[in-house]
Symmetry: C2
Subunit: 159 residues, 2 copies
């Protein structure tokens, strides 16, 4: 049910999610980055059941990605804002968006990240801040092990 809804959304993140899992929480974060803060706004954007939205928002607050702020007392109303931890999730969303646009934008790219000054679409690529090079194999490898072992020759390669 959720899957069908996701698949028909224009958003490349939603389309990507459709292929990988059910992630309302990610879409809540996406909307939070778009500036949404209030329950009603999230519900309107996502079209999910209030009970489900409440559950996901509560989980995101408990996980430290969103913070609750009371903006009205009678009746009590809260809004939800991204914490620093939530803000730091942005690269994951951008990577998801790029992947969704790359593989699931059969009808054209509908949401994308552009250079603000020129409107030219960005081509997101993940690099090493120190070297500026792409994090591709074989130049970059994922290693498992405690921090102290990071420079030793006994690393076990992993994902």
């Amino acid at each position: 049910m959720q899957h069908k809804r996701f698949a028909t959304m224009a958003c490349p993140i939603a389309r990507g999610l459709d292929r990988v899992g059910e992630w309302w929480s990610i879409l809540i974060l996406r909307d939070a980055f778009a500036g949404l803060t209030r329950f009603d706004a999230f519900q309107k954007s996502l079209g999910i059941a209030p009970t489900m939205l409440t559950r996901r928002l509560t989980a995101l607050v408990e996980a430290g990605l969103l913070e609750k702020h009371r903006y009205a007392d009678k009746p009590p109303r809260d809004e939800y804002r991204l914490t620093e931890r939530g803000q730091d999730f942005r690269p994951v969303l951008i990577a998801m968006m790029a992947w969704g646009n790359q593989h699931f934008a059969e009808d054209g790219v509908r949401v994308q990240i552009v250079e603000a000054a020129t409107g030219i679409p960005a081509e997101p690529v993940m690099v090493d801040r120190r070297t500026g090079r792409s994090l591709l194999e074989p130049d970059y490898v994922v290693v498992r092990g405690k921090p102290a072992a990071a420079h030793s020759g006994t690393q076990e390669q992993s994902a």
Copy 2:
């Protein structure tokens, strides 16, 4: 149940997932990037029920992220390999890993991406391939709209 298991894993991706949702599929992809191809290997790595693993593998094949290859006939045995679409998911995993290490590695970084030649840990950052600059606001903004409208002044900002 799944959540508790995720939270106690050393993997920063799993820890991140624990905060955001339930994503066995992502962890299957992570293991596929680590070189796992066979059902038994995935099951051993993930410790999930065979029925669940079968379901997730089938979904990833149907979504075009994994391909099934028969490697034995008696009895019939298949292995699962990343497709190009699956390979292209790597930046999402790296972004998840970086975020997990940044926020949930209380006991030290246990899995990370390093420069192969030097062993120096990479600092993953998402940039625009054309300009080399970080995709941060306000320099880069997410816009909604059809491709033809990408350069117009009528874009609706979104995340």
